[in-house]
Amino acid sequence: MVVETSGHFWRFGIPSEGIAREKGELMITVDGDFLREMYRRMSRIRKFEDTTKELLLGGELYGAFHTSTGQEASIVGSCMALRTEDSMVGTHRSHGHPIGKGARLDRLLAELMGKETGVNQGKGGSMHLSDFSIGSLGETSIVGSGLPVSTGAALAYKMRGEDKVSLCFFGDGASSQGTFHESLNLAAIWKLPVVYVCENNGYGELTSAKDAISVEDISVRAVGYDMPGVTVDGQDVLAVFEAVSEAVERARGGGGPSLVETKTYRFENHAIGRLPEHYRSAEEVEYWRTERDPLVLFRQVLVERGFDEQQVDDLDAAVGEEIVAAIEFARQSPAPPPEAAFTHLFAPSAG
């Protein structure tokens, strides 16, 4: 099955020409298996997050808890533009990113329970849910701190002549940190194979991006670093996939870094269960949940393109079974022994 679709896509010009929005149409070609896998990964994130929220509110999980619900298209569209060996860096809100890149759910859930079988052996938890086996180089909970790390990985790939690409996820809030600006500058002067994906969910913690960021579209900031910057509908997985694929291809081909901004929304509060939500209206949240749900939107695309509803339901059902098994795995897993508090402070050195 071949599907063609167009994304919502804008490109920004150079300052001397003003910031010209030129609406373009990108066409991509992917097969049915690829689309199924896209939907499956989005469904895995959604169900994982719904489950973890329930477990948290039920008292089985603990700690600060920032979920990816609502941002699935941005995550999966980006991750599926990468190869397995490409690396990525995540944030405090990154339960979804390892799932988007194909991580096992059971070891992620075990980590959220602080178990020894967790990806970080119970030492990272929700804000550092980082599975290095699928190419993660960490999920870092200080906003903006991952940008230099992903830039450095790209530097290594370039110095070694490898054709790997480094992708960095960060939020709208991080785009005001110095590390964002320093990283983009380094990547530009060194022409590094890195893709910066800014998931603009409209709020940095509780403060609206409108009150905190000098520009409406964060991709404009790419202009200052002489790299391509695009803004894309972050609820449209194919649009994200197209935009990030183009940036990845540019990076891999020696064309240097890009900035992709995905306009998205987090359905849940900044953190689950512990903060006021008076900074945004119930109507706004309801609008995004009902009109802009990336899973609902993608399901419509799939059905329009010839999938039947039952096929999509089957994907959801299979994911549900995977979640049940993951919960069971995590619950049955042992807690780390007390001495684990002291291990991994240093890596054993080959010397």
Partner: protein, 322 residues
């Protein structure tokens, strides 16, 4: 054996490791221009890819060093001077020190930060810090302060080969000093203090450039009939407290000479360790010769008075003997 200066020893260490291992490279402000004179001949030998100038962008390039290390490189990041690390503090603390632990051993960070310290030369407060005590409070970092050309070479090579982050505090008062360094391979393991002079009456532990003052003081004390044992700490984390405790068990007296500010200093930490684990050996209170809790003034005379010197060490050691 050859006579080599401290700064030459540093250059030799970096050059040899870069010859030996392609994953080793150096980056920092003006390294390719050899601004500090410690990268002599390196850009000619390795080119500007591996002797890489950076913009004035410490958080960016220190963090980039961390990222490169996480995917298998062994970067040497030249901080130019130690206080510039403050600009990159989140990268050093949140990323470099914590990643191996937080990710349950999935990440390795074989990165070396070179932090030359320039104090006592009228650069005023912002440029004159000796910030090893600040960094000592953060688990996950190895901190060294080699004090001889021999150790500058051997410990820097060990740091580069270590699979963990190492910050090397080079005291620029030592850069011009020369002494014997063996030909060929030289590795000095991290975590070991060195007894530079044996004695029986008082233990003098020195940190970084204070070794020069400690040895001069010991010489003077000997002429007065006081036998000082001088220990060069060399490695701040891990700290070789065994060597210090053994010495104090013998001498019964302890003086620590540390050029950094006194509050929460390396001298304070050594004092606490000895008070806790060597208390019954002590025949006198522990003495600290450090810098008082104020900033480095620009005025040369004002600055000089604040810093440790040989006379202060001699006077304090004498007092311990009374």
């Amino acid at each position: 054996m050859r006579t080599v200066s401290y700064i030459q020893a540093v250059t030799e260490a970096m050059t040899e490791e870069m010859e030996r291992d392609e994953s080793v490279f150096i980056m920092g402000e003006d390294v390719a221009w050899n601004m500090m004179g410690d990268c002599t001949g390196m850009v000619e030998k390795f080119g500007t890819e591996r002797v890489r100038n950076t913009p004035i962008s410490e958080a960016g390039f220190v963090g980039a060093g961390a990222g490169a290390a996480m995917v298998g490189m062994r970067p040497i990041v030249h901080m130019l001077i130690a206080p510039f690390m403050y600009v990159a503090f989140d990268q050093i603390v949140s990323i470099i020190a914590k990643s191996t632990y937080t990710y349950g051993g999935q990440a390795r960070l074989p990165i070396t930060l070179r932090a030359p310290m320039m104090y006592g030369v009228s650069n005023a407060a912002q440029h004159s810090d000796r910030p090893y005590a600040t960094l000592m409070t953060i688990p996950g970092l190895k901190l060294i302060a080699p004090a001889t050309p021999h150790d500058a070479k051997g410990m820097l090579k060990a740091a580069i080969r270590d699979d963990n982050p190492v910050i090397t505090f080079e005291d620029r008062s030592l850069w011009g000093q020369s002494s014997e360094v063996p030909d060929g391979e030289l590795i000095v393991p991290l975590g070991q203090a060195a007894v530079r002079r044996e004695g029986t009456d008082v233990t003098v532990v020195t940190v970084a450039g204070a070794i020069t003052l400690g040895l001069a003081a010991a010489e003077q004390l000997a002429s007065e009939g006081i036998s000082a044992e001088v220990i060069d700490l060399r490695s701040i984390v891990p700290m070789d407290t065994d060597t210090i405790l053994e010495s104090v068990a013998k001498t019964g007296r302890l003086l620590i000479a540390d050029p950094a500010h006194e509050m929460g200093s390396v001298a304070s930490e050594i004092s606490a360790v000895v008070a806790q684990h060597g208390f019954w050996s002590l025949q006198a209170p522990i003495a600290r010769v450090t810098t008082p809790h104020t900033h480095m003034p620009f005025n040369a005379d004002l600055e000089k008075v604040l810093l440790p010197n040989t006379d202060k060490i001699v006077a304090e050691a004498r007092a311990l003997m009374e």
